[in-house]
Symmetry: C2
Subunit: 367 residues, 2 copies
């Protein structure tokens, strides 16, 4: 059996939307981007959605809109995808790391508190694998210290925290529609906010910093981060599938949980009682990870490690974070985490095969 | 009659490529991006083409590959699209402006010479409207002072300078495939180079700075600048049309030249004997530009002014270029330039209507 780690769910609906778009001859940012923005904003119950061409671009737009600049500090988790940190560096601000919670793998509010200085401008948590961090605590810290909170919800469309949807926390929040994500616009992302002025500024930054009422007149430094209508066409068709996709992933996660519940030598995913988990990642902690992956790969099973190297150990950050302290939880999780396959087309037979093969691997290498 | 300034030429060929791509279910960066890169590289006679998601991204990748950083100076024309300057600012380097040639509207090599300091690292000329600047002079300056030369060839696919194709000059060159460009991949761009190491670094930077042999391991600060296969599908179909598109634009330019040859009060486009002009812009200099545009618009004719505001007068650059001197040629050109409609589907009747209406406007307002 050949089981990929992820597989986009692209079919007739997507094809139809794309054909309609090309036939309209309007393929760059236009009515379909607007429609996609409106659909997602309505679903999230938020006022503004600004579509861009990647989740990374969404973070850059958000930080520029918050006017984060040289000398400012932004607190991010030590355990995150590189883009969270890079977006801070694009502003020539400093990413300041905080360690993570050993159960949710999300930023630890206590360590955030420790890292606040006079230069701190923003807290930038992620929702690991889609699961929300402790937003009550993080928002309280932000309020106490008069800091912005920007939610990097790249993986979190469809999640909730205490009944409020993820991708809506803080001053601004972002999502990614990368091809491996829950739903995709091939490449893409969005910025979300209830603040009219921030939304307007995000739209300007996305479109080369151009004044919307004056062609080639640029009040701010922006970028070309426009989403195309061709990509939005895919996003619109995908978005209609979201409930179905979330339900399927929930079922796969349950099946995995059930399959592994008596398995020694592995830590199952912890799900906080306060969240609804969209299951972008199904993460387990194991020892001897390399051997386990090798074994699973040899049996045709694709595995992702999100992520094997925390930010302070990335070679790109050696200079930037020189003299940085250690982050013991992030380091241990990075060494032990493993993400099992999950995709919409996954059959029960495929799920059972993953469960049985993973159990064999754990029994061989984790005892 | 309703005549837009530009109109993308998207038809059955593009639709077929897009359908094939969606049906293959591989829509993100993959085989079609590779094919598009190979087609363009072969046409240009250059070793490497690295496709990205915009012309702006191409400039950012190129400057990052050249390791331009804080404290460095990059000499750019005072008269250019904002992205040329922004890309320098993304590196927290300083854009240093040089004035332009009053005939080609391209960077003036003599003024480049004046602007070189110990901090200068790179000369970044554009090909205005697709027409090459004086590359012999610019390359000599770069060599004499040990500077990089990066060609911003956003508008220049299909052009030549002394028999060598534009988009191939200097250490690195870029192009844009924005929807209004000669050919389009909806949004997109490429970086070109003959240097294997620079090409490898550009590919890494485009893909989040990730080591191509080690997932989630990032030796450099990159970005998500990947072109999608869906966009490349459009690019591939468009690229096949390039000879036809160039020929059509040449004919429109000739017809305009012929139509305006006896018209007083207007300066016709100058074409250097050393270039082949791909005619992205058909630029004229006029007085009373606002009135002329108003008149043409009232007659249903779309006009572009590329560009009305030189870089040092852009509000986004007020702080960055504080105390900057004046650029008299750039300022005059920005005040007087006007770009007439040009697109593949343009009929002779439409061209004649533009010619006659423009003549009326000039006779009314430029005497």
């Amino acid at each position: 059996m050949k089981i990929p780690w992820a597989m986009p769910y692209i079919g007739e609906e997507e094809l139809k939307e794309v054909i309609d778009t090309v036939k309209s001859t309007w393929v760059s940012m236009g009515p379909r981007v607007k429609k996609f923005e409106e659909m997602v904003a309505e679903y999230l119950g938020i006022k503004h959605a600004i579509a861009v061409n990647s989740g990374t671009a969404a973070l850059d737009v958000a930080l520029k809109a918050l006017k984060i600049g040289p000398g400012d500090e932004v607190i991010i988790p030590a355990f995150t995808y590189i883009a969270t940190a890079n977006a801070v560096v694009y502003q020539h601000a400093k990413p300041v790391l905080a360690d993570i919670d050993p159960k949710t793998f999300n930023i630890d509010p206590e360590d955030v508190n420790e890292k606040i200085t006079k230069k701190t401008k923003c807290i930038l948590p992620i929702d690991y694998g889609g699961q929300a961090p402790d937003y009550d605590a993080l928002l309280e810290i932000a309020e106490d210290h008069n800091l912005f909170l920007l939610e990097d919800g790249a993986e979190a469309l469809g999640g909730e925290y205490k009944g409020k949807k993820t991708c809506t926390f803080g001053d601004l929040a972002t999502v990614s529609f990368h091809a491996a994500k829950l739903i995709t616009s091939v490449e893409g992302g969005m910025v979300f906010t209830d603040d009219d002025k921030l939304a307007e500024l995000c739209r300007i930054i996305r479109n080369q910093g151009e004044d919307p009422n004056r062609k080639y007149y640029h009040p701010v430094i922006g970028h070309n981060y426009r989403m195309s209508d061709l990509h939005a066409a895919i996003g619109i068709a995908q978005f209609r599938r979201l409930p179905e996709i979330l339900e399927k992933r929930r079922k796969i996660a349950e099946r995995y949980n059930e399959g592994f519940k008596d398995l020694d030598g592995v830590e199952l995913p912890y799900v906080s009682e306060h969240v609804k988990h969209p299951w972008f990642f199904y993460p387990l902690l194991v020892d001897n990870r390399d051997k386990i992956i090798e074994y699973l790969n040899s049996k045709g099973i694709g595995i992702r490690v999100g992520w094997p190297v925390p930010i302070h150990k990335q070679p790109a950050y050696r200079e930037i974070l020189k003299g940085e302290q250690r982050y013991p939880v992030a380091e241990e999780v990075a060494e032990r985490i493993i993400n099992l396959p999950m995709y919409h087309a996954m059959t029960e037979e495929e799920q059972n095969y993953v469960i049985e093969t993973f159990k064999e691997a754990v029994n061989k290498f984790c005892r």
